[in-house]
């Protein structure tokens, strides 16, 4: 309780409150604009947050992360275009409801479910934090190495149908972080005698290229489009309250969100799938799913909004980010010399609580904002896409150039921008590259320190958590291979699937 109160005290500052307000409202707006996801916004803002206090910078980024899905539901429901990748499932039931003339009800349910998902997950995690503080110290170098490896394996396996491509891109990420002068033996790695490669390839430059610049290039190269929208009439508050009729589904959705969010490399999609399947299986009207079922909408939105809080767990407790957004946040910690890991949960539990309380506050701010702002947001999302490209390009410059005033960095970012565009066009994911870079760096350091006490290979897994992680890695690979073989045997025709459900690569 002391730590909780002290966390509250940390937050009671004007600059933190201001950062939270900017982050949460900015996040909703960014989430609502199709074509700009939270990743683009966080990538651009990262260098600007380096000069801020870590708590201020992190609450702002966390605000964007946690609130973008609220905003993303708006175009998903009204114009059948998800604002962020994780709102894709929302279009299944949200848009049919709009077509039936129930746009307000659908939006209210989506916001209400997002709010419940967000709050329930944070409360669960606040209660869970003391337990985590006890478990986290059991993670030594070898456990952290194995957890990072597990994250990398999961992110590769999660890209089914493109596992090989995800594997090569993750390996490329691991390779990228090795380039430059290596800090232990002071030898050059893959610098080709070039001075500009000696300092290595900066993670933020790559992230800005792959997420922000590539998105700008896509928007600029594609033909113009500006979505048509309609006005919403009626009481949003009453519509939001309808979610209480679906308490069971919202609670289950949050539960799946918390569980899946904690596992690195898995995230929103699995949580949504499990939540949606559960809702459909236990529904009195399962056939309505996909045709405008309120239950389906609640299942999808409560699950995706429960993930951000849980995704902070592996980041804070082990220093291992599970997806691209938390990987970016990790750099904020590094810049301020706050190294997330077991020590943070043990010694700075108040800081962890402060972040969670900030997340509760952001959910409240966003819901209040959404009560009034839906129609106003609809005007904003009508920005023509190519002009949006100009704005992203202009803002990306600030991100890359302010890092170290290097023209070379800008050229590298532009190169990764074009590479990211090709990947998006190829329907290939960019996330494995970023996770490969971050987790590869962690793995290199942790393996070196872990091996000092390991005599035989079996020593590596002689502690219970290490053994469990190693077993999980092996089991996942075996199950994946079995799944692929079974799928091959079933031989479903290609048109039996929805090819576009997973379109995170386009955002």
């Amino acid at each position: 309780m002391d730590a909780f109160l002290s966390g509250l005290d940390l937050l009671a500052r004007l600059d933190v409150a201001f950062a939270l307000l900017i982050g949460s409202i900015g996040g909703v707006i960014i989430g609502a604009i199709p074509g700009v996801g939270p990743a683009v916004a966080i990538a651009i803002l990262l260098p600007a947050t380096f000069s801020l206090d870590p708590l201020v910078g992190l609450t702002m980024l966390l605000g964007i992360y946690g609130s973008s899905m609220f905003g993303g539901a708006l175009p998903a429901i009204l114009i059948n275009t998800p604002g962020t990748a994780v709102n894709a499932l929302t279009t299944y039931d949200g848009h049919p409801m709009t077509k039936r003339g129930e746009a307000l009800r659908a939006l209210g349910l989506a916001y209400g479910a997002s709010f419940m998902g967000g709050i329930l997950s944070i409360v669960a995690l606040i209660l869970f934090a003391p337990l985590l503080a006890k478990i986290a110290p059991m993670f030594g170098s070898r456990e952290i190495f194995l957890a990072a490896l597990l994250g990398l394996v999961l992110v590769v396996l999660a890209h089914r149908g493109q596992t090989f491509a995800a594997g090569m891109l993750a390996a490329f990420g691991v390779f990228l972080q090795t380039v430059g002068l290596e800090p232990v033996k002071y030898t050059q790695r893959f610098t080709f005698g070039q001075e500009w490669l000696a300092s290595g390839v900066n993670l933020i430059v790559v992230v800005l290229g792959l997420f922000a610049l590539s998105q700008a290039f896509v928007l600029l190269t594609d033909p113009e489009s500006a979505p048509d929208t309609q006005r919403i009439k009626g009481s949003m508050g009453r519509a939001m309250r309808e979610v209480f009729r679906h308490k069971r589904i919202a609670a289950a959705g949050s539960g799946f969100g918390v569980l899946m969010g904690m596992i690195p490399g898995v995230g929103e999609f699995t949580a949504q799938f499990l939540s949606y399947t559960y809702a459909q299986k236990t529904s009195k009207d399962p056939d309505a799913f996909g045709n405008g079922s309120p239950e389906g909408l609640v299942a999808s939105e409560s699950a995706n909004n429960a993930v951000p809080a849980a995704a902070m767990i592996p980041l804070l407790a082990l220093g291992i980010p599970g997806e691209a957004l938390t990987a970016m946040m990790l750099s904020v910690f590094y810049v301020h010399n706050v190294i997330p890991g077991p020590g943070l949960f043990q010694n700075q539990l108040d800081f962890v609580y402060a972040l969670y309380i900030a997340m509760i506050a952001l959910n409240v701010i966003v819901v209040v904002f959404m009560l009034f702002a839906s129609n106003w947001l609809m005007k904003i999302i009508r920005v023509p896409t190519r002009f949006l490209g100009v704005t992203i390009l202009t803002l990306s410059f600030v991100g890359v150039y302010s890092l170290r005033n290097s023209i070379t960095d800008c050229a590298i970012a532009a190169g990764f921008g074009v590479f990211g565009l090709i990947l998006k066009r190829q329907n290939l994911p960019v996330v494995p590259i970023v996770l490969g870079m971050v987790l590869g760096g962690i793995m290199e350091v942790k393996l070196r320190s872990a091996m000092a006490r390991v005599k035989t290979p079996l020593d590596f897994v002689d502690r219970p958590i290490a053994a469990m992680l190693a077993l999980a890695i092996v089991a996942l690979i075996v199950l994946h291979v079995r799944g692929v073989i079974r799928e091959h045997r079933n031989n479903l025709p290609e048109d039996a699937h929805d090819h576009d459900i997973h379109d995170s690569q386009t955002r």
Binding site: A48, S51, H159, R160, G161, Q162, A165, G167, M168, A171, V174, F175, V184, K185, T187, Q188, R189, F190, F192, A216, F217, V218, L220, T221, E224, F273, T277, G290, P384, R386, F387, G389, V390, T391, L393, T394, S396, F397, V398, N405, C410, A411, G415, G417, V418, R425, Q426, L428, G440, M443, E444, L447, R448, G483, E487, H497, D498, H499, I501, H502
Partner: protein
């Protein structure tokens, strides 16, 4: 047709035109890096275990990268060709124009300063994209000024003052321009 058939569907991605070009280029790149491994890394002889060798992680990552790239390429070779390969490659090439615009902006900032370069970049690029009315030019200029004021003026991000500011007469105005715009 049920849209969510299986768990796998949620994670499944499908090939697009030009997959062969990409797979081939990436494989060639991976192979080039792998062949350079002995020349671009050092093998430390003295009392250094295998996992602590500087070449250890580049070797593992490049080995896996080449293996997966080869499998990805094999997948592209045995799959049916999707029409539209040339059009796709041309689309990739078209994006280079905007990378060029971006680099021109980057090179301009140290000379004419952040404010002028941003206004010029936003207006000229908007014009190039077809937003040619006075209204759109105004929107582009306002956006440019707002960006500079927020990031350089308020957030004080590190962007050095342009050479052009040196031409201003010494005094308060010059130092204001250099510090905030």
């Amino acid at each position: 047709m049920r849209r969510l058939q299986t768990f796998q569907d949620l994670f499944k991605r499908y090939r697009r035109p030009g997959d062969m070009v990409f797979a081939l280029a990436f494989f060639a790149f991976a192979l080039f890096l792998l062949l350079n491994l002995p020349f671009q890394t050092t093998w430390v002889e003295k009392r250094t275990a295998l996992f602590a060798q500087p070449a250890f992680w580049p070797a593992i990552s490049l080995g896996l990268m080449t293996l997966f790239a080869a499998l990805h390429l094999a997948g592209a070779v045995v799959s049916q060709r999707i029409p539209g390969r040339l059009a796709e490659a041309l689309y990739w090439a078209r994006s280079l124009e905007y990378a060029g615009w971006f680099m021109a902006y980057v090179l301009l900032v140290p000379w004419i300063g952040y404010l002028l370069a941003t206004i010029a970049f936003c207006c000229v690029l908007a014009f190039r994209l077809g937003y040619r009315s006075a209204r759109w030019m105004g929107v582009a200029a306002v956006f440019a000024i707002a960006t500079v004021v927020i990031f350089k003026g308020l957030l004080q991000v590190k962007i050095p003052a342009g050479e052009i500011y040196g031409l201003l007469p010494p005094g308060a105005f010059r130092s204001f321009m250099m510090t905030y715009l």
